[in-house]
Symmetry: C2
């Protein structure tokens, strides 16, 4: 089957691998000489579960699969290193289609300095990708886990929230784009279909003393709960401070939804949520602006009492949960 040589052909077209990669694709395994600390994450995306082929281009599907993995590296403050790709090919995806998926993926790899160092292509009942990403840091202490947050730390978030959830509504409900300009609608769709991992911001936050960090893949509330639980603390978030993306209010209104719920509960924004000591927040804001050109917004703080509360501007609860409800 010709398409099963595709990966080798795609990899052969790429720029030379990073100096860490001694043996790339084509042997039994890739050989790297990483040095320092290595960060590894695996993610799977399956048609009908994580995406729908009709709603996104094949290039967007490939790109988003890699972006989700690289976002995990960003949330550790790691440098991107290598990626390994498993592509499951259904019977109705031809060679050209496979190439589109891999082209979308390689474009993001090149843009982020990630070496595609190997993979496996197999027949599968539906389009599926499993991506292994490997990142690096000079020393393990430079990396930021989820578990170092302390009461009094300020909770900060990069960029804007709710855009991916609003983009999904625009994809699924035609009317929900009614109040938007063409540019606003395109921006929201891009948030849903072409997320970009916050690699620069993650490293800037790590250098600015972030004590805990996670990427927002499941939604602010759930991911804040993960961070808080891992750190053994609680979190209070002021919904009035959330940086809601442009156009989210209009989409929410058209769809009969609460914009704050899209911002606090919608997933896949792939922004970074971090705990930063109060006396380093100003430094962190400046560092994220300088290195990533992104805003960093304080949205709440870590508290001794466990659980997560997100309060509306009027003081009422938007979300509240003990950790046992968030499993």
């Amino acid at each position: 089957m010709g398409e099963f040589d595709l990966l080798a052909r795609v990899l052969d077209r790429l720029p030379p691998p990073s100096p860490k990669v001694h043996v790339g694709s084509g042997d039994d395994a890739a050989v790297t000489v990483p040095g320092g600390a290595t960060v590894t994450s695996v993610d799977a995306l399956v048609d009908g579960v994580h995406f729908r082929r009709g709603q996104a281009s094949l290039a967007q599907i490939g790109s988003k699969a890699l972006a989700a993995g690289l976002s995990d590296l960003a949330a550790m403050g790691a440098d991107p290193g290598e990626a390994y790709i498993v592509l499951g090919v259904p019977i109705d995806l031809d060679e050209e289609g496979c190439l589109e998926v891999l082209d979308g993926l390689t474009e993001l790899a090149v843009a982020t300095g990630t070496t595609l160092a190997g993979g496996d292509v197999t027949r599968a009942p539906s389009l599926a990708l499993a991506i292994t990403v490997v990142g690096h840091a000079a020393r393990p202490e430079q990396l930021v886990t989820r578990s170092g947050g302390r009461p009094g730390d300020v909770l900060v978030v990069t960029g804007e929230l709710g855009g991916a959830a609003a983009g999904l509504l625009v994809l699924e409900e035609l009317d929900s784009a009614a109040g938007l300009s063409a540019d606003e609608a395109a921006a929201l769709l891009a948030r849903q279909l072409e997320p970009r991992p916050r690699l620069d911001a993650g490293r800037a936050l790590a250098r600015s003393g972030a004590t805990a960090m996670i990427d927002i893949s499941d939604g602010l509330g759930g991911d804040a709960a993960q961070l808080a639980r891992a750190s053994g603390v609680g979190v209070t978030i002021q919904a009035s401070t959330l940086p809601v993306a442009a156009g989210v209010a209009q989409v929410a209104a058209a769809a009969g939804r609460d914009p704050l719920e899209l911002a606090a509960g919608g997933g896949e924004d792939y922004e970074l949520l971090a705990a930063v000591p109060a006396d380093r927040v100003t430094e962190a804001i400046a560092a994220v602006e300088a290195t990533a050109g992104a805003q960093l917004t304080p949205i709440g703080e870590l508290a001794a009492a466990e659980g997560v509360e997100i309060r509306r501007p009027d003081g009422s609860l938007l979300q509240s949960a003990g950790f046992d409800q968030l499993a």
Copy 2:
């Protein structure tokens, strides 16, 4: 969905991770401090493509998926390190079934000293596993690629061949076990369903100066061609010297097949095929016997002329191909 916490529960039950693993499962990514050279390989196995659920137990499916990955590390002469598991769960596989898959996999991980350091569990249309294995060596020069073979090197193979292919015939054609004792039939089934990666033999061969090495997953002829092509040489194999597993002759006779074709063309034996300089073959045989308790058999040699020939005892060709036919 409860089963999606399964991986965390399984990982929590395991022995402590190796000292290389600083942060295991449960954060955005695993953190390791590998040192030296790192070897990475990814493999996917899909129900109906690589295995059939009815023909193997769920534990065997999990175990074989990891074995296939570890076999790639063995073929580099690497020490096993970490594994990351993507489990795709179909609607008709319940929590207990998932645990059986993971238990089979973890049993082999523990037996080989492999740390399960992370993973992802997702809904999927059919049972599927994607396994990332990471191995280690103190220095990259200690690892054996496919590409270092030289004309005059002796081609050696570990263990016995044809057992996995004969085991598959026993699984698929009841009559083909006719001439076998119960023990022989069980041994052939085990070769097909519960392969064991030749990690000790791989390291022994690396220390004994192997210039090129590959594991036999696709079949001796095809894998020999891969090694020869990567090394820029040709290969001649004497079929009379092949170490054919016990029972293969009887199964082949019952199924109307040629036993040499099962040994030379059947895949999934997961033995190691290596090129060794002629003056180190005796040392390599002793080292594989001493460290892995396995036989190492010289079966042919590398030649300057490209292509692969496997000759029958009477001198006629069993297989012959230029590399362009073996893509």
